[in-house]
Amino acid sequence: MSDIFDIYLLEAVLNGLLLGGLFALLSLGLNLVFGVIDVVWICYAELIMCGMYGVYYLHVQYHWPLLLAMAASVGIVAFLGWLLHQFVIRPVLNAEPINQLLVTGGVLFFLQAAATLVFGIEFRNLGVTLPSVRLGEMSFSAARLVAFGAALGGVIALYLFLTRTYLGTAIRAISQDRAIMPLMGVDPARIFALTSALGGALAGLGACLLVLQYDVHPAIGLSFGPITFLICVLGGLGNMVGGFIAAFVFAQFIAVGGFFFAVEWGYVIAFVFFIAVMFWRPRGILGK
């Protein structure tokens, strides 16, 4: 009896790990943009929604191969991130933070409403079912394994980009001292636009992984947006390492909490934990 108990607990922990990888990737783009540009994209999850629709339509309606549809969707969402910066964020770059929140919040509702108009309110499914993988008596969804692997790959690629390239170093530098970047020969406007495209690309990658596991509908952003935002805040908004750690902690609370009680309780426990941390460290685990 105790053996079976242990193996199911282990399964829950491992599933939490897989979920954590996905959360880590989702939080990455939001954190990157906030860390560099100092603006929170409240509509981040709606960009993910656009990416999910992109994969769905290109693959199901236009019969593109799945991987090609995914690559194109990453590109599309990267472009949306760039558009968002140029036309919405840039005019309010030096405005009050509350105004910046309001405009990106406006984009959230705009995208939701536009998706409802264009795509309708049906739940749409990619129709791709990946098998589940059995490991002894434990079983894992292959979609989650793929998502975990891709998320980890994305995290590592971003880390290498930020530490090994001139552009990546400039992205880190600009968040530390925006005003002197021109003295380095760097045009801050260009770095901001690029960072926004990169944040969009990360949202697009998240979309590709989510669409493997979940149906798309215009309000799907509400299922991931709040969690993604809370994870970023939990880790320290703008701190990518903090967000990475927080993603795994949060996912464990959901998975293991769901194992001991019910799945819904997993979320309750995770949010209680979040609130407790906010009392203890209002700026997040690694916040300054």
Partner: protein
């Protein structure tokens, strides 16, 4: 090499410089000296285009600087070491240098060796996060970062500010060596006695106006400078 003609500049309605003219010739080391608030920092900011002059003109190697946006000034050959060093505190010393080479990355490796030869101390500290360097090391790193682009003209804004006296000595020694390497240097300083030992010529800036200019020896010997600034 650099000519500033009748420049008036400031922030909003407030003017910090009035009708300032000066010149730096290739290979020269020139200082602009004067008290706190005289407009020295504003002058350097005008030259590197961080602020637009309201009147007057700037030419560098015969071409006007007027049409340039701030971030292209470096690739024209002007590097600016800003007031208070302004390193990127959470990047390592070497990453700071990499930022200095942003516009000249193809020669990064060679430049890094040259700059490390000039600042062996930085080579030891290369992997250290810049915010944890000592004040003197930070100033070295800021100067080295500017040198990474192999500038034709180096602008130095108060390199001795906020440093312990013994460190100030070593920074001026460094500036002397940089001048000896053939760089053209325009340095702005409050530490008048020290800087006049390093440069060939100087301008005295007071309340936004150039009130005197001449060779370093002339200014050191001028009675009003001795009285007001050197406490003699």
């Amino acid at each position: 090499m650099l000519a500033v003609r009748n420049v008036t500049a400031g922030y909003g309605d407030f003017n910090a410089l009035f009708d300032v003219s000066l010149e730096v010739r290739a290979g020269e080391a020139v200082a602009v000296i004067g008290p706190n608030g005289a407009g020295k920092t504003t002058l350097l900011r005008v030259i590197s285009k961080i602020i637009e002059p309201k009147r007057g003109e700037l030419t560098f190697e015969g071409a006007s600087l007027a049409p340039l946006r701030p971030h292209v000034v470096v690739s024209r050959g002007i590097a600016h070491v800003p007031e208070n060093r302004r390193l990127f505190p959470r990047l390592t010393a070497e990453e700071n240098l990499r930022m200095g080479a942003y516009t000249s990355r193809h020669q990064y490796a060679a430049r890094l060796e040259e700059v490390y030869a000039l600042f062996p101390r930085l080579k030891e500290r290369r992997a250290q996060v810049a915010g944890t360097l000592s004040g003197g090391e930070q100033q070295m790193c800021a100067i080295a970062r500017a040198l990474m682009s192999r500038p034709k003209l180096l602008l130095l804004d108060e390199p001795s500010a906020g440093l312990a006296p013994v460190v100030v000595q070593s920074i001026f020694e460094l500036v002397r060596r940089i001048c000896a390497e053939g760089y053209t240097v325009l340095i702005v300083e409050q530490n008048i006695r020290q800087v006049l030992k390093v440069v060939e010529r100087a301008y005295l800036l007071e309340a936004g106006r150039i009130v005197r200019s001449g060779s370093a020896a002339q200014l050191l010997a001028a009675p009003e400078i001795q009285k007001a600034y050197l406490g003699l």
